[in-house]
Symmetry: D2
Subunit: 335 residues, 4 copies
């Protein structure tokens, strides 16, 4: 265990950067924010003030060059992730990076290799693994509570699509949105995908189709251990943020339902009803975002393997690319 507090540099002070800053500031005793940087100077300034961060760096290179800093949180746009990971790894910093590493395998591999060569921890921001519901399901599956696994079904539907400008650079639904589902399927099954077949289309907004993407798909997957899986994704659900999962095995089934802002039940002359589930991923996963950062700090401080690594991100990307290819070529793709 390190004798002193872990000094963390925050690279990117946007929405998710602020969430992680809050966790380090308020929920972790073994780490502190030592520096922050953001292209938008006022963002860096404001975050530094709010979380009492002593140093505002000009750019990520200044942070990486800081001998005092042990680890970095990479909360910048996707197209900068690989470069920063590589640079940080070479500088011997441990790295927490928002998913994905990159939209292609080449950069992804380069980043993973850099971290492995440098012997630094690289944890990816698949926060869903740290959600109380998904973690409980995983625990039960691992403990054999439902026996031998047969099927897994992951459902993720967003309250609404992101701007078309974002979709254009997102890598497409299979990479951008479904990446969490691919990761969850691997996490729960403990096995690798051997084949995918995707059906999809533009059902939400024609502008998404014009941007070269689709907004809805169901993908059928086979795993090395024989388990069959599906992913059901849509960029829009009228009733909010729909995040469910079912695992079915020889001794039973386990399902994760949606989370709600309250559990109040209303019986009226029309219906028995409740309020809608959470409508925003930051609210839905607020505790999971905190838990993943706590786990990262713990992994570094106690020198443990992070729960979700660069290799995990690579495997999810592989599935995403195969699913995309399956959709485009209208045939099953073996991995």
């Amino acid at each position: 265990m390190l004798m002193s507090t872990l000094n963390i540099g925050l690279i990117g002070a946007g929405r998710i950067g602020q969430v992680h800053a809050s966790t380090i500031a308020y929920r972790v005793n073994t780490a502190q924010l030592a520096a922050v940087t953001d292209p938008i100077a006022t963002s860096a300034q404001s975050v530094a003030e709010k979380f009492r961060i002593p140093k505002i760096a000009a750019d990520y290179k200044e942070i990486i060059a800081d001998k005092n800093i042990d680890a970095v949180m990479v909360c910048t746009p996707t197209d900068t992730h690989a470069e920063i990971i590589i640079a940080a790894a070479r500088a011997g910093k441990h790295i927490f990076c928002e998913k994905p590493i990159a939209l292609d395998l080449k950069q992804t591999d380069a980043a993973i290799e850099a971290a492995e060569t440098a012997g630094v921890k690289l944890q990816m921001g698949f926060q869903r693994r740290f959600d109380a519901n998904f973690a409980r399901l995983k625990q039960a599956v691992s403990a054999g509570e439902i026996g031998e696994l047969r099927m897994v079904h992951s459902t993720s539907r967003d309250p609404g699509p992101p701007p078309v400008s974002y979709i254009k650079v997102s890598g497409g639904i299979f990479v951008d949105m479904s990446i969490h589902d691919w990761d969850m399927l691997r996490f729960v099954t403990g096995s690798e995908v051997t084949e995918v077949y995707a059906q999809g289309g533009v059902m939400v907004d024609p502008a998404i189709g014009e941007a070269g993407d689709i907004d809805t798909h169901v993908t059928l997957l086979r795993f090395a251990n024989g388990v069959i899986g599906t992913v059901d994704n849509c960029r829009h659900a009228a009733y909010g943020y729909d995040q469910r999962f079912e695992a079915f095995g020889s001794k039973g089934a386990i399902s994760v339902e949606n989370n709600y802002p309250n559990n109040v039940s209303f019986s009226t002359g029309q219906h028995v009803q409740r309020d809608l589930p959470y409508n925003f991923f930051m609210t839905r996963y607020i505790e999971a975002y905190a838990a993943e950062v706590v786990a990262f700090v713990d992994a570094v401080v106690t020198d443990k393997q992070p729960i979700v690594t660069g290799r995990d991100a690579r495997q999810a990307l592989l599935i995403a690319l195969a699913a995309k290819q399956s959709y485009l070529e209208k045939r099953p793709i073996a991995l």
Copy 2:
């Protein structure tokens, strides 16, 4: 066991009489309807035809005089129950009678005594004991699944009040509506009430107050075994027929929820909702009405004690009268 089929005379061919006729005709192999009578000749005629009953009797006396008949179903208005029970008992007929025996203890006692003296079975129509939910709760409590019982709560709210003309002759809410709750509390606790205290009022319809009754009450009860209970009754619930129960003990709690016509869940832009529970007691308890008649026939044919007797009806009436007195005198009443 009787060698031949039990011959049953149906006294009263109204709504509940028809339900019971249907059970005997279609669900019981060991009994058959041998005769029917009803003051309204066309009702008797129609029921006889529908259920192929060979004989239409002029009145209940003709049925009781029929040597061929082994048992009677008394489905007439309350004010005739005691007289018919007494006559039927003296004629040696086993008796299934709709609740209550009477609105006062004197007639109730006379009827019970007649049945006991004659050595005939007398089963009362507390169908709730035969409902799959309440029966399951009772079974679990009896099996000690929740340990030593501490509290019981019975909630019964009707979709809407009966006509004021009915309320006027009903004996009032404590006797007419709550009688099922008193019975369920005794059934579940296996103990007798030692004290009641009632709070109530007219909250649904002033006409009910003008008729000398109230339409809403909550009554607090103490049982000989120390258990504390409540009954929550209202003549009107906007969302339908509300029939719930909770038993709480040293090892846990059990609750009965409402029954619904379907289990479909709707997620819309406004709510997550489902259709309302059943709205009518005949629909809600259709299987319980059948089960109680099956049990009655079985009790007669196999010479067993019925699950709910005249003495049970008497005890429920005692509680009802005490609760009414508590409400009127604004004080706890010991039984």
Copy 3:
């Protein structure tokens, strides 16, 4: 409307034949059982007695030859369905037939053609369409309550596999078990399948594999109207009979959950729990079996198109055969 009562001949007095006999005897005023036949004489005898059927016929031909009979219920093994339908149709009898018509298209088409040529009603026993939950979901989808349909998911898992001897002649899981799911998908979407892709395997019992079948599959389907569907089937679920469905559209989602023998909730020191869902299809769908026969009689008596016809059975069979081919050839199959 017919002036007199519909006379029905029951062909096959086994388990499902008895269920239908009970419905005609007790729940339908406009029809009566006029004759029954079964290869096992004692079965025919016993059903005739129980439901007061006046005539026991030597075989189905005697029933079909009976001028007095208007319609037949075909409750015999699958391999006799086509022959009986054709003969009955030629004799001018309306026909209710258990699913499927046959395991191949040739016989199926011959039977459908015979019925259409003869101008008789042919209703197939897809009881799930008549279940309160599935019917409610269909009604909501048809009424546009969830907007434009995007996805449908049908889950059917059996409490346990049938005997291997049955599986050998069943036509295999895609035809035998999944036929209800294919029908439900068509029923709910109101569209035809254009492509299927199946993943499956032997996960329950190797003996099923040795018999040339599989016991588990997930099939991905595309419909002419663009909707994407899945069917999740397994011959075994540890927790009972699992029958769920989800429809997702532009305005929301609807789901059918399992049915339970009671709604009692238990809170113990270990869990909050409830009893398992129904464990047997006859119990789970008891009301649906009655409703389909009521609907058949109504369709004949009022000269309406049945809700589920021979053509529906043919379409479900087409999907089944394509799914089977997809599984065997490991590729998507266009219909």
Copy 4:
């Protein structure tokens, strides 16, 4: 609005004091902790370090004497509340105080009067009003969503009783435990209690009886607006922390269910089950504890009436004392 940040003095650095310190440190921009005191020096020290509180005071008097301090959080044992409130009020400090003010009316009134005379805010720690579920129920009732209120039922059962040493000085179950229920009933009904009648006993642990208290009660209440209420309290529930509420009105009903650490559903060969509800009040109400402190700071900073005042605490105490009297004298008590 105040120009500068609100300076708060924390009086009592125990369990709940730390929770409130955390809220002020991390969730409130308009306030900061300026000083802390605790009889246990190490507690004060540790809290000061963790939340970077600049000053450790010798006792509450030093805090109150501090000109720099605008408000105090009183998180000391109950028997010191009144004295501290009075002193703080005279020093012109706004006050947030854990419930109750005192176990008797005299001290309670003195404290309220002191605050009112000084014109300072006095907010009491009834955190349940700030819970997402109870707040949503209250909002719906206030908005008339269930029409005119008829009944309210509050259920609070603890996972286990506190030490008997605590019970002896707690004021008894009606004051100590039920105080939250009395407050919720007043909050939801918006009306005052006019009469109470309590039934209770020792059902959990005879040692509680030997200490002069009971551990279980059900109390029936009448409100000035005619509403009927019940409170169901027990010091022990095998399944965890049971916190439910039902409001029933002319247009429907609303109920608050328990909160759970996850929503995962398990279907096994025995049951359909879920994990138990939260087992500890600090976990169950963690967000409510934060919300009440946020609201207190807001009330002070924006000069608004706190949502729950000293007068609210007084009214809850009045009900508690009447319920206790009712239990002891075995009769309804008018307020």
